[in-house]
């Protein structure tokens, strides 16, 4: 009886295994990751010798689009600035107050100092406010097109006001 049970059981398992194999083949396309999908897309583009998408020149530039690329641009720029500062700290002789004294001794006009402060503050303010805008999108809010425009204008206004205020200090 035990032998019979075992034989049936094994048979059950084997049949399930073969069925599993069949389903496995069917299940593969469903189990792809976003990365695999992207790789497939790029492989197809290369194979068919398709031109690179998106064609930036065929679009009429919109505010949200420009704000999006500005967010990335300011992010890359600030990151590069931080890395440059860190590398300078490692390789340059002398310490930070010395360099500040040097800048001070060149006695730039107040206009240039203020303009420089604005140029430093604006990317930080913009990336911060637009980052908050992104975080609001990330919780699933503000996706309607008029809302996207409105939040965009708020970000631009706040960034300008904040960086003007910071430059004036």
């Amino acid at each position: 009886m035990a032998l019979l049970l075992r034989t049936v059981a094994r048979q059950g398992l084997y049949s399930s295994r073969s069925q599993f194999g069949v389903l496995y083949r069917h299940a593969v396309p469903m189990g792809t990751t976003a990365k695999e999908e992207m790789n497939k897309f790029w492989a197809k583009n290369t194979r068919l010798n398709r031109p690179m998408s998106p064609h930036l020149t065929i679009y009429r530039w919109s505010i949200p689009m420009m704000m999006s690329i500005t967010h990335r641009g300011t992010g890359v720029g600030l990151s590069a600035g931080i890395s440059a500062f860190a590398i300078a700290a490692l390789v340059l002789p002398g310490d930070y107050p010395q360099y500040l004294d040097m800048i001070h001794s060149w006695s730039f006009g107040p206009a240039l100092i203020t303009a420089t402060k604005f140029a430093l503050a604006f990317p930080v303010a913009y990336h911060t406010y637009n980052g908050i805008r992104h975080l609001i999108w990330d919780v699933g809010k503000g996706f309607k097109i008029p809302e996207v425009y409105r939040s965009g204008y708020v970000v631009i206004a706040l960034s300008v006001l904040t960086s003007v205020a910071l430059a004036a200090i």
Binding site: G31, K35, I87
Partner: protein
């Protein structure tokens, strides 16, 4: 249906020692057997597909974790700005240094993912980014330790 249930019961009895003896069985199959314990076949099909994408699932779970970590770090960074203004000092110097470096590292990583294609190129770009981020963090820590520190540096720059 009754016969199917009986096969299920038989399988459960027979399968256990089998599963124990064969540790090399794929996880998907184990999950499949488990699902069969509950309900023989109907439940099994979606279960298999879920189990099949196991590697994909764990990959996307990691991606999801990464996404969440990026957001958590961004929110933390938002809090660090007023904190650094109110309480400048070594604690915030190193916290800001670490948070900014990691935020930049992840951000540039996204940019590389978007624009760099090809296995070798991606690997090279990611290796280069890792080196840059490490050097950046080292430089900022060096600055915090040997110089005025990042919080005070910004305050001093603004007083020029």
């Amino acid at each position: 249906m009754a016969s199917l249930t009986r096969i299920g019961v038989v399988c459960r009895i027979g399968a256990k020692p089998l599963l124990l003896s064969n540790t090399l069985l794929p996880r998907g199959l184990v999950a499949y057997q488990k699902s069969r314990d509950v309900e023989p076949f109907r439940l099994a099909v979606p279960q298999i597909q879920a189990a099949q994408s196991h590697t994909a699932t764990s990959g996307s779970k990691a991606a999801s974790m990464h996404w969440t970590s990026e957001r958590v770090l961004s929110v933390l960074l938002l809090g660090m700005a007023p904190a650094a203004y109110l309480y400048p000092g070594p604690v915030l110097d190193y916290t800001v240094a670490a948070a900014l470096t990691l935020h930049g590292h992840w951000g540039i990583g996204q940019v590389l993912t978007d624009y760099v294609h090809g296995k070798t190129k991606i690997r090279l770009a990611k290796a280069g980014l890792f080196t840059l981020s490490m050097v950046t963090f080292a430089g900022l820590c060096y600055f915090n330790y040997n110089d005025v520190g990042v919080c005070k540096a910004i305050a001093m720059l603004w007083r020029v």
